[in-house]
């Protein structure tokens, strides 16, 4: 099942994907039974609230082709950074491009949502700890890269710079998360294409790796990195990051007004 968190007529609802106009997830069936087309809703990140702030782990250079594009050799160990919750926004929201910036790019990523407490999990058991998946667009503003804790928070942890959604998709509905097509379009033109099969460190590896030194809790996120094909995004651009079977996340770039 695909679940959403949305605001409709001023109230927050949990809903599920619903067929509309021939598209299987073009609408949401709200918890009160009403069916509302996507564009009439305000979308929130599709995650249930957590008792403590959720941990958001993000992978850099986790696709061999992206590592090559950025002139880095593939890492021997996951290159990971942490994001704060306040950077998250939902589907169909705006992401701000600061004035004077030369290079700001999207990153289409499969986001793993942890389903149960994970500590010292082995690779063979790792899938038991995944609750589901969503799509993340992990924007980077490359102008702010500095070689201290790179990529630093000024590049990666800015307000509105991590759209997430539209859906939380139950793990059971994604039979092989390591064989999903990813693609990004900017204003309708395909700019990024890849497959989760090209990850350097796959989902089971990552859960084993992280849970060796940190306990992962339900609702924690692992953003698994992006393939090559990142391009600069300007105010007004509509960026759709899409993962097969998980969803198409729509985001618009805004500038200074």
């Amino acid at each position: 099942m695909k679940h959403a968190r949305v605001i409709y007529e001023g109230r927050e609802h949990i809903g599920t994907a619903h067929e509309f106009g021939g598209h299987p997830d073009a609408a949401v069936r709200l918890d009160d039974g009403r069916v509302v087309p996507q564009e009439q809703l305000t979308w929130l990140p599709p995650l249930a609230p957590t008792a403590r702030p959720r941990t958001i782990l993000a992978l850099g250079l986790n696709y061999a082709d992206h590592a090559k594009e950025l002139e880095f050799k593939a890492p021997e160990e996951p290159l990971v950074f942490v994001k704060g919750q306040s950077t998250l926004i939902g589907h169909r929201q705006h992401t701000h491009r600061p004035a004077g910036v030369q290079f700001m790019h999207y990153e289409c990523e499969l986001a793993i949502v942890i389903g149960k407490t994970a500590k010292n999990v082995t690779r063979d058991d790792a899938y038991d700890f995944i609750g589901g998946y969503t799509v993340a667009n992990d924007y980077a503003i490359r102008d702010y890269l500095e070689n201290w804790y790179r990529p630093n928070l000024r590049v990666k942890n800015r307000d509105t710079c991590t759209p997430l959604g539209p859906w939380f998709v139950d793990a059971a509905d994604v039979p092989d998360p390591m064989a999903l097509a990813l693609r990004t379009t900017v204003n309708g033109t395909v700019t990024q294409q890849g497959s989760t099969r090209d990850m350097i460190f796959d989902a089971p590896f990552l859960i084993e790796y992280f849970s060796r030194f940190m306990t992962l809790s339900p609702g924690d996120l692992i953003l698994t990195g992006t393939p090559d094909g990142v391009v600069d995004c300007k105010p007004g651009d509509v960026v759709v990051t899409e993962i097969e079977g998980v969803g198409a996340l729509v985001n618009t770039i805004s500038g200074n007004t």
Binding site: P53, V80, G84, Y144, N147, Y149, L153, F213
Partner: protein, 211 residues
């Protein structure tokens, strides 16, 4: 009746290189690879919720390391208006590491690696955070004194510079940083972090037992 100890409700951000002595110690390397230049903006990291250890609790030292580094600090707890609601003592533990090029997640986000002071000190009763002095005692012996008049970015400046690129939400915590000369500790040690006007933060270290 015992009150439950203070725990943050938001994200905890740590700050690197916010003490002059710490910057001076690294200065010769700052223009060399991999850094190539001194940082322009605050260098931050996240202490994830799995690291939080309430005052009084035991912190587990991973079996893979002989000792860990203490990071005595004070956290600014953010209020509803983005202001400072209060201050809290914290012990930002790390597995010692030499490089600051990549985010040190596996050295800093280890389970239990953030000791959190027992109580929030109301910002209203603090004249100037630059007056803070923090002492670190290990098994009763004084090992470090930290003088918060020596910050590169004093509290309000740090808050403003971080606010330039991200919003700190109500309940988030921003650590002022840890000075150079961070004491090393090992399993069995008792760590006391104290400061006038604050309730002392105490944690003990225990060895990880085989899984």
């Amino acid at each position: 009746m015992t009150l439950s100890p203070f725990l943050p409700t938001g994200t905890v951000y740590g700050t690197l290189l916010n003490f002059r002595t710490e910057v001076e110690a690294l200065a010769p390397q700052m223009t060399q690879p991999p850094y190539k230049a001194p940082p322009k903006a605050p260098v931050l990291y996240v202490k994830t919720a799995n690291t939080w250890s309430p005052h009084g609790s035991a912190i587990t030292v991973p079996a893979s390391v002989p000792e860990v580094e203490i990071g005595a600090s004070i956290g600014l707890v953010i209020g509803a208006e983005g202001d400072i609601e209060g201050f809290v003592l914290m012990n930002d533990l790390s597995i010692p590491h030499a490089s600051f090029f990549r985010p040190p997640v596996k050295f800093k986000c280890v389970d239990g690696f953030l000791g959190i002071g027992p109580a929030l000190r109301d910002a209203q009763e603090v004249a100037d955070p630059a007056n803070f002095r923090v002492e670190v005692r290990i098994n009763g012996a004084l090992k470090q004194s930290v003088d918060f008049s020596q910050l590169v970015r004093p509290a309000q400046q740090l808050l403003a510079d971080v606010g330039e690129f991200m919003t700190l939400a109500h309940g988030d915590v921003l650590l002022l940083g840890c000075d150079a000369g961070r004491p090393l500790v090992r399993a069995g040690d008792r760590i006391e972090i104290s400061s006038p006007g604050f309730e002392t933060l105490i944690n003990t270290l225990v060895q990880e037992t085989a899984a």
